[in-house]
């Protein structure tokens, strides 16, 4: 959702794969030594809200899985389905040469790879390790270095799209890593997402997601401010939205995901801001953008302000609402 890629002319020349476009091409380019016997077991570490449906889509495509999660209960469902459950990331690495990790934080990822029983303890030469967690790009680069030392391949492939897209297999993957390995990654990622975009060297997948979501947060808050101001100045919300959408103020937040109730149907603002992309998740991504900006000394005056606004919203009861609820946060009338 939050960054669902909808294909457009703009995409021409972009090095990516789309199920709707060339599935054949995709499976062809996927032919490489490692996946010759294309249905060898795939490891999956992290079976949370997102990991669970992602792993199931790999199963649907006939891939046997080797599963691990810090919470045993998260594995039960897969065990019942006959998949192999092991007791550590190291054990996963021992049994599978292609592993996908889907974890909540940078530290979880570091533990899964470099921990006492981490993947690196037993990883095989030539293995393909794909991390779909959304974490700090500098951590991705550091993990890639350690993986390389073991003769294996690391790619960062964070996703756009929420639980719904994960279930329907319509996630978007932004992939960073060696271009030669992109086809091999596509073979697996293409089972879980409808778009797989190659972004460049390791870490650029994370960078692309962070930059997109920062701009998303800024334009969403901006749309909320502009709509709220216009309404107070006497404009009809639907009319204002139409004017903005045919003008230079047009943005995804105004024309596809308008935050003002009554302007559009089928978006969180039409449903009391339920579902969608939670304020807490946006605050987390903005925290990563903030960290990256600080470490690269890049000024992000509006990005850091957006971060602070979502931070405050989380403390004011908006944490579980969709991030477009910033309109509701800003609109309330003053009470005297």
């Amino acid at each position: 959702m939050a960054a669902s890629l909808r294909l457009r002319g703009a995409a021409s020349g972009l090095r990516y794969w789309s199920r709707r476009q060339q599935p054949a091409a995709a499976s062809l380019t996927a032919v490489c030594s490692r996946s010759m016997a294309s249905k060898t077991p795939v490891g999956f570490i992290g079976l949370g809200n997102m990991g669970n449906p992602m792993a199931k889509n790999l199963m649907k495509h006939g891939y046997p899985l080797v599963i691990y999660d810090v919470f045993p209960d998260a594995c039960k469902e897969f065990q019942d389905a006959g998949e192999q459950v092991v007791s550590s990331p190291a054990d996963v690495a021992e049994k599978a040469d292609r592993i996908i990790t889907m974890l909540p934080t940078s530290n979880n990822a570091i533990e899964a790879y470099s921990g006492a029983n981490g993947i690196l303890k037993k990883v095989k030469k030539g293995s393909l390790l794909i991390d779909s967690s959304t974490i700090d790009p500098t951590v991705s680069k550091q993990l890639a270095k350690e993986v390389e030392k073991m003769g294996a391949v690391f790619m960062d492939a964070p996703v756009s799209g929420g639980v719904g897209a994960a279930r329907s297999g319509n996630l978007t993957f932004m992939v960073g890593g060696m271009e030669d390995e992109f086809a091999a990654a596509q073979e697996l990622l293409g089972c879980m997402g409808s778009n797989v975009v190659y972004c460049g060297a390791v870490g650029t997948g994370q960078a692309a997601k962070i930059c997109n979501n920062m701009l998303l947060a800024i334009s969403m808050i901006g749309t909320a401010e502009a709509m709220n101001l216009g309404i107070r100045l006497g404009l009809d919300p639907k009319l204002l939205a139409k004017i903005l959408n045919m003008s230079s103020g047009r943005c995804w937040s105004s024309d596809t995901y308008n935050p003002v109730p009554g302007v559009m149907d089928g978006v969180p603002s039409a449903n009391n801001y339920q579902g969608g992309f939670g304020t807490t998740l946006m605050a987390k991504d903005l925290g990563l953008a903030q960290d990256s900006a600080t470490s690269t000394k890049s000024p992000i005056p509006l990005g850091s302000q957006a971060h602070q606004i979502y931070r405050v919203m989380c403390a004011k009861g908006y944490s579980k609402k969709d991030f477009s609820s910033v309109f509701q946060f800003l609109r309330e009338e003053e009470t005297f």
Copy 2:
């Protein structure tokens, strides 16, 4: 330019007129008592960079003009062309029952209407007074009241589009005032612009422009921050722009007017930020947004920060550059 309206499906249901769409309809709806003899003289006050080409487009359509500008030199060209030049706004009002004003500031507009020799001193009952200046909506409302007292009609119709659009007659007018009079306004505005949008009561034309430009400034700065951060994180600018444009970060500033040199052709960033919409003008519009927000007690955290950023840029030598030069302002490397 800055807010040029490009027609799209989104526009359906919008109460506006477009030359490309229904010129016939336009001239028909334009039939009303005042403009029966449709080519009676039209008054024009303010022949600056924008007013000059606008007035010429009225001439091209065969309207005789009654001209006034505080700087006599600004009128000479029209005098030579045989148009009538008078010595005050009052005199314009005496000779024409349809008047267009195009002035730089709220105070200039107040002077032209309510000044010692202002329009109101000699305005005829039933006259149509259209103010295309970009000013504070509260001033527009105040002028409308005074005009009404004289039995005449006032409409605010600020424009989007720069000098180029003014010359080619492709401006967009955002019109506020009584809906019954909209058709009459279209007859004249349609000669100078390709889109004439009805926004609602008096002042809403200004409001629509202010809100659009505030959102434009926010998304432009946001795009500059996101592109700059992505580049420092190792992403290729063109690739990043494509990813943003197929994602939820998409906005007019990223897909139509990208601020990063080398990403798009035919935009100011491809020409050292020459031409386009000046930083000073954006700072002025943001000042109006700030004033409107303060008087309506509407929080605009990012809008006011955008205002401050363009304020500082004006003081740092960017005043004459296009407003997309904020990328250049933010990108510079730290020097140690």
Copy 3:
């Protein structure tokens, strides 16, 4: 309170008067033609929360009053006390040559001076008109011009200190106007305040108050942010406050009016943020600072952000709480 002046060495060389310092000098310098018969009636317009106790302090000093308020009830108390109540600002000007106005907004002040029955309709030559309202400095300058045309004298003298200081006669007046008239103003202002500071030309009284309160808002929010961050990093609030107060972070908000409950006694934070200087009033003053900054093109990045924060707080139920409640606004834990 909000800007109560506490005398210090720093004040040396400052052109002001303090009851505690030289009362004698004050009454001496006050000797001038107009106030020869020093107890001639004094006009007072605006008997609200502040004006009421201020007028009473003039009565205590033996000045007969000529009273007007748009709400007749506000005058009753004074009528019962034998003071003269009239039916318009003009009538006040007819009966008194020294008038003090204490009104809530710029528009109220404009109405009282330039309205249909305004002071200027009947003001006498040589009259001294002192406006203690907190309004836009540009409005003060405009009123001063109109007053001058009538041969009278205008001074702006906004106050620091809340209702409490108004009752106890300990307000601080920041005075703008001709220096020659300062002594005459002191005679009256000295009855209502303990400090009367000369700031310069007309409008500088307002400017001084606006600048002080903007810096106050910024340092208060900054103190709240620093204390909250420090506490979350494991520091004891009292210890952190002491360290800041002996360091370069020291400010009035940290050492005299600390916003963290439990750090100091006798301040609003020790009393659930009751009393003190309301968030709504701070938001109003920041709106004036914003307007002045916009019209003078002065960048105030933190000042405008502070404005937006208090704006949002007013909409989140903090409008009646003391402005130091920003600590409470920011501190709340995120709820997951």
Copy 4:
């Protein structure tokens, strides 16, 4: 300088030591097993601009040193003076049971302690390791854990005060660690600073410095905004400063380190912003504050904006100027 602690009544009750107060007490409380033979060698790692004069002050007090710096040249001066120079942090730990580290970044500190030839490789049980670097508090805590495992003691003791204070031995140390060890730390820190403040558990020294400097940056920018706005509104800078300093806007930046040239003597603003506390250093400390705020989910709307402003200043040629040059950055007139 930047956070120089000047002792005041406010300090009463504060658990700290001041040379001016109780040197005797200090040396007494310092009596503990480790420093029985109080002049045993002290290790010093990091002889940069700050470390160099700090180490010399230890020499002056008669402590033999064991020196290490990644740049051998930095040690020469001490070698010539007869001090022992070794080739790694590990070697320092082998020869001294009290070590002070003064390094530029978190990574440098991690390397010096946990690196291949780090202190932890040869540290003796019971050693006292004091890190005076300004780094991320979370890194300090992590180092403390590793040090503890080796049976040694770690304290973070970042300094306030620049090179000048380091030379004159007037630094302020903010100390975090076990309170029992505070006296032992004082014995050494007291030779290099005039104030040694105990802040609490490990990491709180860093936290106190970060919070103070964040509030300092906010109030400095706020002072610059208020002074600049006041000047543009017609106030005399010296007069405005005096009014602020007797009012609630008073802060260290306005009364001790005013950023406006001509208002005070003996401060960087009186010397073209030379000397003092560099903009780059302030940007670095604000980056640490930002990181701490992000990881603790503490909203710092003004703190992060201050960070962005110093970030931009670094890119605009202010990196080497004192941080009070933000006044110069904001004041420049717009050029048309």
